[in-house]
């Protein structure tokens, strides 16, 4: 199992080299790998249809109990066959379609990476492994959409797809994390048995929403549907493979895979069903409005994806079977149509259906394939599309909540799809001959083999549905429903409501095709999204982001140190002030002040000094004012009977003032650089900071000091240190080593300062001479 995935990655490394060696036939040779894998998965059909689940496990993260486990059941089988089968055809096709392109080797490599990752998604059992593969598909899709990287539109579309699906992917990661935490298990297979516990958990809804966000972005569900048409910038084989048959179905796969664990609740039904229904209708309608061949197909793919999601939302047995059939049918007809559209583009040089006509004569094989596929898409017998539509209506009619409404939406969506099928298959091939940029003729075998095979397969399965019903559809449905299911598919069930609905659908669809021009503008009201929709929101967000970032930068990153300081101070004051306001009882702080008149005088002197420092116009005066502050504090020490401290303070203050004078002697004069407003703001900030500090000091002093040191030194300084002055004893006795260290440090610093000054003086001397 893991070999299957790894072989894809391995060949992708070698693909550019292979391409260089065999240039012309590289497509055919590289396609051997997916073909071989297809054969391998086909060989497993018997075992899986018999109800067996193939499990493989590898140690990955043993200490935490994460293992790299793979789980291969009916659902995986169906997807694996589609991934490898279409992969084979697409690689062959690309060999012709992109022949001569300088980056073809790289193209093969990325497609193979994608294929391997997609296989990983469908057979991974571990939630994290699933996520890893999931993201790899997003990245390879990004690279493939941007394949023509010299085109701006291509790059923008690639980025859009990556941002939408990548963003959804991260939401998915968060959702999977929640899911893992809720259930305590990282294995999907282990989740199945715990559905009740999961759904009863209070984190169920957040987990569900996040996972749905991941699935909906990937599968282009409304309101995230807009990236898929944009992704049509990719070369045709990529559109056929990733954006129709496989990658966009990863979201559908995830819903199907997790529905046993998450599904069945009211939230699931409401969210999934409504998203699916809206997408189905909107996709069909938008498809019908397009004139670009690939955009028609893209929107009709959106519609089909909506249908699949709708069916999984309904979640009944018949709905799940319907989803499985539709999945298969869609892969066949849409793959065929996309490849055919690429062929038309290749041969005629245009993709606009109004610029083509009467091509049936020059391209008969393409015409045949397109007709078969389109008939299947429109849901006409005897093709597989017909069967799938019958089952769809059967499921919507049996819906438990609003059968009538859901059925009506389904019919409406399908009406447009029928019309769109007409646009794709009738417009280009029939009618009058229209001159196209290139002279068209049938392309090489590589270009038409894929469409023909796929369309033919659609016919074959339609005629003999028994081929797939037991071996593919039933195991897939059983895997989703987690119980043994049998499936009987047939073209003819007799006249029943489903058949009537089908007839109505086709009838209205033909009408919609014929009167497209006349109806088109009147029905615009159905699509308000074009003006205010999610695509617009995305665009605004992408454009607005740099603008917003620039604005934030100019506020937060001015480059001025003083503003940085202001920010830090304001935030600190805010944080502390908030706690102060919310936690401290202000009453307890205020003790009756018992001040003497000279204390007030000294305090006034200190304040005046502080004010002076900020207001003085000359440096000398500022320094002098600063000195006043220091001497005032010394006076306070005297007043509170600490003459030794006062002495120290006097000495230090004098020294500082002298030092300042010494230093600023050489500095230029003050200049006013800030505006009045700035200074007022700074004053406010300073006052706030001062107020905060004052309050803190008051609170700290209100707290009784619980030092164990003071009593210890008081008791022991005389007996142990033989001294009565505790401070002295501490300095020279108890902490003599510290003092020694301090003296050393100071001496070293002094030597350093002396050395620096000498150096500087020496330099000055050099300059003068």
């Amino acid at each position: 199992m893991v070999t299957a995935i790894m072989s894809g990655y391995a060949l992708s490394l070698a693909a550019p080299a292979v391409h260089r060696v065999v240039r012309r036939w590289s497509g055919w040779i590289i396609a051997l790998l997916p073909a071989g894998l297809f054969a391998y998965f086909l060989s497993l059909v018997g075992r899986v249809a018999g109800g067996e689940v193939i499990v493989a496990s590898y140690e990955w993260f043993p200490s935490l109990g994460y293992n790299l486990t793979f789980y291969f059941d009916g659902l995986s089988l169906l997807f694996a066959l589609i991934v490898t089968g279409i992969g084979t055809l697409v690689i062959v096709y690309a060999g012709s379609y992109l022949a001569g392109d300088p980056w073809l080797g790289r193209f093969y490599a990325i497609v193979l990476i994608f294929m391997a990752s997609m296989l990983g998604v469908v057979i991974a059992d571990n939630l994290i492994a699933l996520f890893v593969f999931w993201e790899l598909t997003s990245i390879s899709s990004y690279l493939l959409i941007g394949y023509k990287f010299d085109k701006a539109a291509s790059r923008a579309a690639a980025l859009q797809a990556l941002l939408v699906t990548g963003g959804g992917g991260l939401a998915l990661l968060a959702g999977l994390l929640l899911l893992g935490l809720i259930s305590g298990s990282w294995e999907i297979s282990a989740l199945f048995g715990e559905a009740e516990a999961i759904q009863a958990h209070h984190l169920y809804l957040p987990a569900l929403l996040l996972i749905l966000a991941g699935a909906f972005t990937k599968s282009a569900q409304f309101p995230f549907h807009f990236w898929l048409p944009g992704a049509m910038e990719a070369p045709a084989p990529v559109s056929a493979y990733l954006h129709s048959a496989t990658m966009v179905k990863a979201g559908v796969f995830l819903l199907a895979r997790l529905s046993p664990a998450l599904g069945g609740t009211d939230e699931w039904t409401a969210l999934v069903t409504s998203a699916g229904a809206v997408t189905m209708f909107l996709g069909g309608f938008l498809a019908w409005k397009q004139t670009d061949l690939k955009r028609i197909l893209a929107y009709s793919t959106v519609s089909t994806l909506g249908t699949l999601v709708l069916l999984l939302g309904i979640g009944s047995s018949i709905a799940v079977k319907g989803a499985a059939v539709l999945l298969l049918a869609h892969a066949m007809y849409k793959g065929s149509l996309f490849l055919m559209a690429g062929g038309l583009d290749h041969e005629t040089g245009t993709r606009d259906i109004t610029a083509m006509g009467g091509l049936a004569r020059s391209m008969p094989v393409s015409m045949l394939a397109a007709s078969l596929a389109a008939l299947s898409m429109a849901g006409l017998p005897p093709l597989v599309g017909f069967i799938s539509k019958e089952v769809l209506y059967e499921a919507t009619l049996e819906d438990a909540v609003w059968p009538a409404l859901i059925t009506a939406v389904a019919v409406a969506g399908n009406v447009f799809v029928v019309a769109a099928a007409g646009l794709v298959a009738i417009k280009p091939f029939w009618g009058e001959w229209v001159e196209t940029p290139k002279h068209p003729h049938e392309g090489p075998v590589g270009l038409w083999l894929g469409p023909v095979l796929l369309a033919g397969l659609g016919l074959f399965v339609g005629l003999a549905p028994g081929v797939v019903s037991h071996d593919l559809i039933a195991p897939a449905a059983s895997a989703v429903l987690q119980k043994e299911t049998t499936v009987k598919l047939a073209l003819w069930h007799g006249i029943n409501p489903m058949l009537v609905l089908s007839v109505i659908t086709v009838g209205l669809g033909v009408a919609a095709y014929v009167w497209r021009e006349r109806l088109g503008n009147r029905l615009n009201i159905l699509d308000p999204g074009s003006r205010f929709g999610p695509a617009r929101i995305y665009q605004e967000a992408v454009d607005g982001l740099p603008r917003f970032a620039t604005a934030v930068t100019s506020v937060l990153q001015s480059g001025y140190l003083r503003l940085y300081l202001t920010t830090i101070v304001v935030v600190t004051v805010g944080l502390v002030g908030f706690t102060l306001a919310s936690r401290v009882d202000a009453g307890g702080m205020w003790r009756t002040p018992d001040v003497r008149i000279y204390e007030i005088l000294v305090a006034g002197m200190i304040l005046a000094g502080a004010l002076g420092v900020t207001l003085m116009r000359s440096r000398m005066a500022s320094v002098a004012a600063l000195g006043t502050v220091g001497y005032g504090i010394a006076l306070l020490y005297v007043l509170f009977s600490a003459p030794d401290l006062a002495m120290t303070q006097f000495a230090i203050e004098t020294l500082t003032v002298l030092l300042f004078v010494f230093v600023i002697y050489r500095l230029p004069k003050y200049a006013t650089l800030t505006s009045r407003r700035d200074r007022v703001r700074d004053a406010v900030v300073a006052l706030l900071a001062g107020a905060m500090m004052t309050t803190l000091v008051l609170i700290v002093t209100a707290e009784p000091l619980r030092s164990r040191l003071t009593p210890y030194f008081a008791e022991n300084s005389l007996p142990l240190g033989k001294g009565r002055n505790i401070v002295n004893v501490i300095l020279v006795d108890f902490r003599a080593f510290d003092t020694l260290g301090e003296i050393t440090v100071l001496s070293v610093a002094a030597i350093g300062v002396y050395a620096l000054m000498k150096l500087r003086l020496g330099q000055a001397g050099d300059e003068e001479s």
Partner: protein
């Protein structure tokens, strides 16, 4: 009753890796005086040798192959030699080794080859190691200064270039300013608990009388101010403003080293002070520590601001500066999550795992900038990445790996780090923060992937030079990033037994 402690009581051996490095730095300082200017490679080799010895010792201790010393505490509880210390040591030593490798040629060609560079780097490293091992508030502060002061000098190492000097000045002034906050905060914590020893603080908080609002307030304010001081070191918003200016101005080899080392030190100290010292500090019978709310608010602000501003940067060094701010935010999520006691161990491990992953990735990314930078410090704009894939395919591939890892794409180390941090946050019921983390990661893809895009899909000269030791550093970083990405259990096993809780 008052005795001079004997050397054996100190249990010096328990601190062997840090002691070896600190002593080595002192010895090299003297040795370097005798190394002539044109043969500074001797100093570089000595430094690398010292770091390697210390790294081997730390690894032996981390893997429990050898147990140094006797018990976990050394220097009377000032130094704690537990698994946490070992892991911090390993992270910072790896960073320093890479730092020496990327510096050697760079210093040569920019004419800065001086011996000071190497032992200043060693002192910083020793500072980080002591910070991780701090068992006492005093050690936290001293180690912080030991870590910071050499960095201030290193930032201005490219004198007399003005940008370098300006950034050193800014860094020094703001750093001193925030150190003051830290000291004040630590003093308040001391005032509230009556001790500076973390284990005793923990005990004091445990027995703190519930009604003693005044002591609670002191502790709260103390924790808050410490958070401001350390928030500056790890560049958390709104204390981040120095980061871009300093990163842009400082020599790139210094930035490569300091962007990781300073963060490791800051976060180690935060974890020691908050998670080891006061995990049980809860207000109003809450279930999470009182400092948790502020921490996650800081985390959210840091992630949002860092990522938003990074988008519009046009200089690689500035861009990575904002990216490093953003990553500080992600790591802060882990610190916040550790505020819930039952998640504390898991969150602590997550932070260490993140730092380990970040060390390889970020040093690697800066090394690539060193490779493209010209001798006159120009060519560090985003445009220098154009066309790099064509002229230097290996270098471009390595840079792509680093960018993917910084974004947090699976199979890179960056993803593993984010994974553990977000998991811890969710387990701690910090879901909104985890969601912000995820969303801002998406945002970050915008600027990281743009670099990848420029390298691979745009035309340009793509000039770059990768001389020997620099190329090794880039290679080791890239391999480390990928190996940890593919085999995440290597990281989680390393961190598995780490706990900060006192008393088992």
């Amino acid at each position: 009753m008052f005795q001079v402690p004997s050397l054996s009581d100190l249990n010096v051996a328990a601190a062997l890796p840090a002691v070896v490095l600190a002593l080595g730095a002192c010895v090299f300082l003297v040795v370097d005086l005798f190394v002539p200017r044109e043969r500074k490679h001797i100093t570089a080799w000595l430094t690398a040798g010292g770091l390697s010895v210390s790294l081997v010792l730390a690894l032996l201790s981390l893997t429990d192959v050898v147990t140094f010393g006797d018990g976990e505490e050394a220097f009377f509880g000032m130094y704690i030699a537990d698994q946490f210390t070992d892991m911090v040591n390993v992270i910072v030593l790896v960073t320093s080794l890479l730092g020496v490798m990327v510096a050697y040629n760079y210093l040569d060609r920019t004419n800065m080859q001086r011996g000071e560079y190497y032992y200043l780097l060693l002192f910083t490293t020793a500072g980080v190691m002591f910070m991780g091992a701090a068992g006492d508030l005093v050690v936290v502060f001293v180690a912080l200064e030991l870590l910071s002061i050499p960095l201030y000098i290193l930032t201005g190492f490219r004198r007399p270039q003005e940008q370098s000097e300006e950034s050193a000045m800014k860094y020094f002034l703001l750093g001193a300013f925030s150190s003051a906050f830290l000291v004040y905060g630590l003093a308040l914590v001391y005032g509230a608990t009556g001790t500076s020893n973390l284990r005793e603080i923990w005990q004091a908080v445990d027995s703190m009388v519930a009604g003693d609002t005044s002591a609670q307030f002191l502790l709260l304010t103390g924790a808050g101010l410490s958070l401001v001081g350390l928030g500056f070191k790890v560049a958390a918003v709104p204390f981040h403003m120095w980061t871009p200016d300093v990163y842009q101005g400082a020599p790139t080899s210094v930035v490569a080293y300091m962007s990781v080392a300073a963060k490791v030190g800051g976060f180690a100290a935060l974890l020691r002070v908050l998670v080891a010292g006061m995990p049980n500090f809860m207000l109003d019978n809450g279930t999470s520590a009182a400092w948790m709310d502020v921490t996650w608010l800081l985390a959210a602000a840091t992630m949002i601001v860092g990522n938003f501003i990074a988008i519009v940067q046009s200089d690689l060094k500035r861009l990575l500066a904002y990216s490093s701010i953003a990553h500080a935010g992600y790591i802060l999520i882990g610190v916040a999550a550790a505020g819930v006691p039952r998640v504390a161990d898991e969150a602590t491990q997550a932070v260490l795992i993140y730092l380990m992953a970040y060390a390889f990735t970020n040093v690697g990314a800066f090394s690539v900038i060193i490779a493209v930078e010209r001798d006159d410090a120009s060519n560090t704009g985003l445009s220098s990445m154009r066309g790099l894939a064509r002229t230097q395919p290996l270098l471009a591939a390595a840079m792509a790996v680093f960018m993917l890892s910084l974004t947090g794409i699976p199979l890179t180390a960056g993803f593993v780090g984010k994974w553990f941090v977000f998991k811890a946050a969710i387990a701690a019921d910090l879901i909104p923060v985890a969601v912000i983390g995820v969303l801002t990661s998406v945002l970050s893809a915008y600027y990281y992937l743009r670099i990848v895009w420029m390298m691979y899909f745009e035309d340009g000269d793509g000039e770059a030079a990768t001389p020997r030791p620099l190329a090794w550093a880039i290679g080791i970083s890239a391999i480390g990033t990928l190996v940890f990405g593919f085999l995440p259990y290597l990281l989680s096993d390393m961190a598995r037994e780490i706990t900060l809780a006192f008393g088992g």
